[in-house]
C-alpha cells in the first residue's frame, strides 16, 4: 500500500492540471456560497420561495454547502478523467505494467487517488462550512447535520469512480470528459422518461441524493409519490448501500476491462 501511495504521489505531484482544477474548486465553492447569500439578500421575495432558512446559519450551512459543492465535483471528476486518460494516451500505464506493476495495483492506485481527492474535497468543504458558519451564523449548533459531510465524501467517491470508469472505457481525454458530462443530463432524462421509481436507483441519482436539495423543502417533504400514494424515496441507509455497491461495481468493471484489454 505504501508503495502504491508513493507511486501515485511521484506521478501526480507535478501534474499542474490537477492543482489548477483543485484551486478553481477551492475558489468557486466559498464564492458560490457568498454569491447565493448575496442573491437572496437582494431578492428576499425569491428567497422566501426557495427557502425559509439562512444558508449561513448552523446547521443549515452543512446542507447548503455540501449541495452546492456537489455541483463543482465535476471539476475534480474532470481531473480524474484527465489523469487516467493521460496514463493511457502517454502509454505510461502500459510502461508501468512492463516495469512490474500489476493491473490490480494500477486500479488500486487509482482507487487510492479517488479516496485522497474525495477526502481533500470533503475536508475543504467542511472547513469552508465551518469558517463561514463561525463567522456568519447566528447560532452555534454545528453538530446537527454535520453527517452531511460524510455523505458528501461518499458522493465524491461515487462521482470520481464513475469518472474513472468513463476514462477507462473511452480512453481519449476530450471524448471521455464530454461523454462524462453529457451522461448527467442523459441519465436525468432517461430516468424521468422510464419512471420516477426506477430513476431513484440510477447511479448518479443515488449519489446526488446523498446531499439533498436544501431548497423547496416543503415541496420535497410532501414527498414524490406514485399513483398508489406510496412514497418511493429511498431511505438514507438504502442510498448509502446502493452508492457503495455502485462504487464497488465501477472499480470491478474497470479492473476486468483492464485485465482483458491489450495495452
Amino acid at each position: 500500500m505504501r508503495q502504491i501511495i508513493a507511486l501515485e504521489y511521484a506521478k501526480l505531484r507535478k501534474f499542474h492540471t490537477l492543482k489548477i482544477l483543485f484551486a478553481v474548486y477551492m475558489v468557486v465553492v466559498p464564492c458560490w456560497m457568498y454569491f447565493m447569500n448575496f442573491f437572496f439578500q437582494m431578492n428576499p421575495g425569491l428567497k422566501a420561495i426557495f427557502t425559509q432558512e439562512n444558508p449561513f446559519d448552523f446547521p443549515h450551512i452543512w446542507s447548503f454547502i455540501t449541495y452546492s459543492a456537489s455541483f463543482f465535483n465535476i471539476l475534480l471528476a474532470v481531473s480524474v478523467v484527465t489523469i487516467t486518460t493521460n496514463d493511457i494516451q502517454f502509454k505510461t500505464m502500459r510502461q508501468n505494467i512492463i516495469e512490474g506493476l500489476t493491473k490490480r495495483q494500477v486500479i488500486f492506485g487509482k482507487f487510492i487517488f479517488v479516496i485522497f481527492l474525495s477526502a481533500a474535497a470533503t475536508l475543504y468543504t467542511f472547513l469552508c462550512g465551518l469558517v463561514i458558519g463561525l463567522i456568519e451564523s447566528a447560532n452555534s449548533d454545528f453538530y446537527q447535520n454535520i453527517h452531511l459531510n460524510v455523505l458528501y465524501f461518499i458522493q465524491t467517491i461515487g462521482y470520481f469512480s464513475f469518472a474513472f470508469l468513463f476514462a477507462i472505457l473511452v480512453k481519449r481525454p476530450a471524448i471521455a470528459i464530454v461523454t462524462f458530462i453529457i451522461y448527467f443530463p442523459v441519465e436525468t432524462i432517461v430516468g424521468n422518461i422510464i419512471s420516477q421509481k426506477m430513476y431513484q436507483f440510477f447511479p448518479l441519482k443515488v449519489y446526488a441524493d446523498l446531499t439533498p436539495i436544501p431548497f423547496f423543502k416543503a415541496v420535497i417533504n410532501s414527498g414524490p409519490k406514485n399513483a398508489n400514494n406510496d412514497v418511493f424515496l429511498l431511505s438514507l441507509s438504502e442510498q448509502l448501500s446502493l452508492a457503495g455497491v455502485y462504487i464497488v461495481v465501477c472499480f470491478t468493471i474497470t479492473y476486468f476491462i483492464l485485465k482483458r484489454r491489450d495495452l
Binding site: Q3, A10, F90, T92, I97, E99, G100, L101, T102, D262
Partner: protein
C-alpha cells in the same frame, strides 16, 4: 548447461483475421545476448509485448525464471519496448523515481544519478521529458531499463532515433552489459549491430520462426567460395555436375559458388581434383548476417 531464464512455447497472437505471431517456441539461456530479427510486421514487438505482459497470447505460453507468467517476474527485467513512454510533465529524475518505486528500490537517488550519467543525461536531467529530442528520450528509456540492475534486459530497437555516434555508444553499452553476464534480448533492424553484439539469433518472418540458434552456427551454415583454375570451362562443367554446389556468379575474374552445409572447401577441392581440375585459388567468404537474413526472408 546454462540456466534457462525464458521458455517460450508455441506462442501465438491473432488480431481478428491477422496472425501476428504463429506458434513461436524458443528458450533463452542465462548470460547470452539474443537477437530477435525480422522485417517490419514479422511479429518481433508483438512477441516481446506478450512476454512483457501487455498483450494476451491467443495461444501458447511462456515462463520467466521458471515462475510461469507471474507479474513479479517483470520486476527482474529491464525493458524498452517500441517508443519510450514517460510522463511528459516530469523531468528525467522524477520519471526514473516512478520506475524506482515500481521496482521497489530503496533509496534510489544514487542509482538514478548513476544511470543518468551512464546514458549521458545527467546535465539535462532536470528538464521535462516533453522537451527532449528523440535520442534523449531513447537514452532515458535505456536508463529506466537499467535502473534496477535487472537480470534480463529486453531492448526493442534501442538505436531508434540515435545518431551514428549514439548508435556506436549504444552498441558499446549493450556489449558492456552483456559482458557483465546479463541476459539480453535485442530486437533490431540494424543487422550489423546484431552480428557484432549477439551470441544467438531468433529469426521471425510473417509471425513464424525461421531460425533459432547460435550466431556462429548461422554464419557458418553457408559459406561461399571464390574459385580459380587454369581450365575454367572444364571447372564450370565439373561444378555443374556436382549437386552440392551452387554457382552464384560466373564472371571472368570471379567464379563464386555456395556449398551445401555438409560440404567443406577441402571436400570441394578433392572432388574437382578427382575430375582432373586443380584449383589455383580457393577462397572462403563468410556471409554477413545481413546477407543470410535477406536470403532467409526471400525463401
Amino acid at each position: 548447461m546454462s540456466e534457462i531464464v525464458l521458455q517460450v512455447d508455441n506462442l501465438s497472437k491473432k488480431y481478428k483475421k491477422v496472425d501476428a505471431v504463429k506458434g513461436v517456441s524458443f528458450d533463452i539461456k542465462k548470460g547470452n545476448v539474443y537477437g530477435l530479427l525480422g522485417p517490419n510486421g514479422s511479429g518481433k514487438t508483438t512477441t516481446l509485448a506478450m512476454l512483457m505482459g501487455i498483450l494476451h497470447p491467443t495461444q501458447g505460453s511462456f515462463s520467466w525464471f521458471g515462475n510461469g507468467q507471474e507479474d513479479r517476474n517483470r520486476l527482474r527485467i529491464g525493458c524498452l519496448l517500441e517508443t519510450p513512454n514517460f510522463y511528459p510533465y516530469l523531468n528525467a529524475y522524477d520519471n526514473l523515481r516512478v520506475t524506482a518505486t515500481i521496482k521497489n528500490m530503496q533509496n534510489p537517488k544514487a542509482r538514478i544519478e548513476e544511470v543518468l550519467e551512464y546514458v549521458d543525461l545527467k546535465e539535462r536531467g532536470k528538464r521535462t521529458f516533453r522537451t527532449y529530442s528523440l535520442g534523449m528520450k531513447q537514452r532515458l528509456a535505456v536508463a529506466a531499463a537499467l535502473l534496477s540492475d535487472p537480470e534480463v534486459l529486453v531492448l526493442d530497437e534501442p538505436t531508434n532515433g540515435l545518431d551514428p555516434e549514439g548508435i556506436a555508444e549504444m552498441r558499446e553499452l549493450i556489449l558492456k552489459i552483456g559482458s557483465e553476464g546479463k541476459t539480453i534480448i535485442l530486437a533490431s533492424h540494424i543487422l550489423d549491430e546484431v552480428q557484432k553484439i549477439c551470441s544467438h539469433v531468433v529469426m521471425l518472418k510473417q509471425g513464424e520462426m525461421v531460425y533459432n540458434g547460435s550466431m556462429s552456427d548461422l554464419l557458418l551454415q553457408r559459406k561461399s567460395y571464390r574459385l580459380m583454375a587454369d581450365d575454367r570451362e572444364k571447372l564450370l562443367s565439373v561444378l555443374g555436375s556436382l549437386q552440392q554446389v551452387k554457382i552464384l556468379t560466373n564472371e571472368p575474374d570471379s567464379l563464386m559458388v555456395e556449398l551445401d552445409e555438409n560440404l567443406t572447401g577441402a571436400d570441394l577441392n578433392r572432388l574437382v581434383a578427382e575430375k582432373g581440375i586443380y584449383l589455383s585459388e580457393l577462397h572462403a567468404y563468410q556471409k554477413s548476417l545481413e546477407t543470410i537474413f535477406l536470403e532467409r526472408m526471400k525463401l
